[in-house]
Symmetry: C2
């Protein structure tokens, strides 16, 4: 394919994806295929000679679409949102064409510098403390990671490295081996599974701090203080706490204003994972949820969830970039460059697990400029309003109950009754394939999660979803043994 053909095919593809998104409502949101469906639809091997482009395009509808879960359908209410906006897609096209790999400043200065400045822009939108802003002389700053899982892991590795150094500094005779086995990290029992996984990868003990309905599934200062006390008494060394703002099951918020001072006093690295909720902090009315950020060492959220920047774009800030870099720095000759020692510049490969990296800040730049702060705030507010609307629909039906406070765009609800009946209801909903939801477990109760996801969801979709849910609830209730 030469440039002339690309001009033609590219424009056709623009029309194809515009059409896909325009008419996505008409598609079955949750695909009706059996595992292994795709293999039989295509050859067993790659072709020797090129296929025609027409055949490839035909196969999008024949092979791909039947098996797509349409995350951008206004009938998709599962998991959490994943962002999708036109400005982000345009920027991604440009990023693909430039196709630079930004592992060092020299490998593409624009790629590195736009990222630093966009992280500052976003940090200012969130009113992050000055410590997290790179500016021209800051000690901190931001980096785009691929996912929140990576950010959690990177923070944990930096914390492990810092802890070992501090211990060795205070006791130079102590052998380095064996220290890690004494370290203990903490997170909420509501934290994302990737936090536990980070502990497995780093081979450190990761303790779950219990929460329950009485504390709204949030970690309280007192509980953390008690666990630290017990662990220290047992000879362990607390070194990392991953707080969650907006947990995956119920969008609960750990009390970081209480937790932060405890961590600071104990020299425990506090990482804040606000993967979903973080985007809302650009609105003044939701910003108080981030109070306590001043105590954190690192903070992360996913604009690729709820801030209209297509996946992947997980933004992470640290107060001291030297803490992060120290855990990873490697400098072979083929990656050295002239400006390296100047201190003014950033080699982002020291901030992350992978070496290579795409030009992802272009997506942020396009989205922030094409929406403006106000446009982004409007978007967040609309989702929260729709969630509130759904909440009132649920509350108006005596058969249902709300299972957790509705703070942002997630409504946790269930039929009053057994877990079985709720499981049956959810199965009916998803088998109907008109809307798609996933469950969670809260205090042993099977709960349905209704997450506002698509950019194009409107009140009518919410009301239609609710009509469907109540219809299916009628059926399920009628079938119950009396």
């Amino acid at each position: 394919m030469d440039t002339t053909e690309f001009r033609r095919r590219g424009k056709e593809m623009v029309d194809l994806i515009a059409g896909y998104l325009e008419n996505i409502e008409q598609r079955t949101v949750y695909p009706n295929v059996e595992p292994g469906y795709l293999r039989s639809l295509i050859p067993e091997e790659a072709p020797e000679e090129p296929d025609t482009y027409e055949d490839v395009v035909k196969d999008i509808e024949r092979v791909i679409m039947p098996g797509v879960t349409h995350w951008h359908s206004p009938y998709f209410y599962a998991y959490f949102p994943t962002a999708n906006s036109f400005p982000a897609m345009l920027a991604d096209m440009l990023s693909g064409a430039i196709g630079c790999i930004g592992f060092s400043w020299a490998a593409s200065p624009a790629c590195t510098e736009l990222e630093t400045v966009m992280m500052d822009w976003l940090g200012k939108m969130l009113k992050l403390p000055e410590d997290f802003i790179a500016g021209t002389h800051g000690q901190g700053g931001g980096v785009i990671q691929g996912t929140a899982s990576e950010a959690t892991l990177v923070a944990l590795l930096a914390a492990r490295c810092r802890a070992v150094r501090m211990i060795l500094a205070s006791d130079p005779q102590r052998p380095e081996t064996g220290i890690t086995s004494k370290l203990v990290a903490y997170s909420s029992d509501q934290a994302h599974c990737s936090v536990e996984r980070a502990g497995m990868i780093a081979e450190v003990r990761m303790k779950k701090i219990p929460t329950d309905q009485s504390d709204k599934y949030a970690v309280q200062g007192e509980t953390l203080r008690r666990m630290i006390h017990e662990d220290k008494a047992a000879g362990l060394i607390p070194f990392y706490f991953c707080a969650t703002l907006g947990t995956t099951p119920s969008c609960a918020f750990d009390h970081i204003t209480e937790l932060g001072p405890i961590c600071n006093a104990e020299k425990i690295w506090m990482h804040i994972d606000a993967a979903y909720a973080g985007s809302s902090f650009i609105c003044p009315e939701f910003r108080p949820l981030l109070n306590g950020i001043e105590f954190a060492d690192s903070f992360n959220f996913n604009p690729h969830k709820w801030l209209l920047v297509n996946f992947d774009c997980s933004t992470m800030w640290v107060k001291k970039r030297s803490d992060l870099i120290g855990a990873f720095k490697m400098d072979p000759l083929y990656l050295k460059h002239d400006h390296q020692e100047s201190g003014m510049i950033t080699d982002y490969r020291h901030w992350q697990i992978p070496l290579g990296r795409r030009f992802r800040s272009l997506k942020m730049w396009f989205v922030f400029r094409m929406y403006g702060l106000k446009g982004l705030q409007d978007y967040i507010r609309k989702h929260v309003e729709l969630a509130k609307e759904f909440e009132s629909l649920v509350r108006a039906d005596q058969r249902f109950e709300i299972s957790a406070d509705v703070v942002l765009g997630l409504v946790c609800f269930r039929l009053k009754g057994s877990n079985e009946v709720n499981e049956t209801l959810l199965k009916r909903i998803n088998n109907g394939r008109k809307i798609h939801l996933v469950p969670c477990l809260l205090s042993g109760q099977f709960v349905l999660r209704f997450a506002l996801c698509a950019r194009t969801t409107e009140s009518r979709h919410i009301r239609e979803a609710w009509r469907l849910i109540t219809q299916l609830a009628d059926e399920v209730m009628q079938e119950l043994p009396h």
Copy 2:
């Protein structure tokens, strides 16, 4: 921006990027900017109200392009190639629009299944042993990772997990803590820096196996055998060897036909990192370089380097997927789905560090179909031929020497003489900004690396580059004190 405007802006963007790639030769390949150049060109904060799209587009030339290192310019010979092709860009546009997150089969069956089948297609192109092919009943199979660094780390973590289990199985009374501190991993002293980094992350001892000019910078079986012997005698437990096929400094190939049987006998996990060279194995004449793959537990290379699939697409195969999954599996309720227990399906989140993942296999599908196997082979062969052409230009000039065998698309060369004179030459070359190269260190010698990178590089670019290099060499030599 609504769909109507996206149709218009998307088509303009197609023209913009087509024009960028068409005329990339005219741009300065290596940017002439000072660190911090970008910050002063744009506002300090995101706008409150939207900017116009025209302003955003204007800023691409004003703000971004002056700081871009043009990796796809035919005058770019630094690092290793990063892929860029029109079919991959078209597929990526589609992937962005579908915008699904494929962490589980249910989260988007097409995303998971196309990946499994594309990994089989590619595995067959490489003539991988049957063990690595998923098929419908295989125990192994492939996964797309973001980068080779991640693949190395994932393999190391899986190996660590397997080793600890084997040790505990053979000695159930042994305490689990402390085992890791006895483990020892190996790689070549020519291995990529990310291998050492993986060891730091996993907190295992990583030993570098010495190589030198006499063995063409490749690890020999005998050296590994001796190190294993010594380490076992010292009470350590060898568990992982990362072999490199095509090292970053000089594209050297470890002797895996010797190394593999040693690893197998010692129950050491052998991971093969062929990040750059792997793409060439689709050509029968280069496939012998992969002989010995049958001894490996895992294998990885980057189609996003040299197989025309835009970043990121790092393909990794394992013989036993259960080894990989075992190191990571986490199953919270919100990620469970009906088909989970069937065994027929794959939840790729258990195969990798991040949880989320893009629909990256679309890029492979488009590229394999639009080029066909023959087209891809032609592309590889053309780069190798150009490298050979450059090699003969170097060999024809008595002042220069070739520093390592030219096997694929990389030529390592230097002026006969001191490191200083070669450093000066490279500095002149890069400051000229007409071509871009990076150095490496081989046996203490400062060497220039000339890597064939851009898809559009032709013989005339090579010859022009050589003309420039010899001109600058003239200057440098003349300035030498007599």
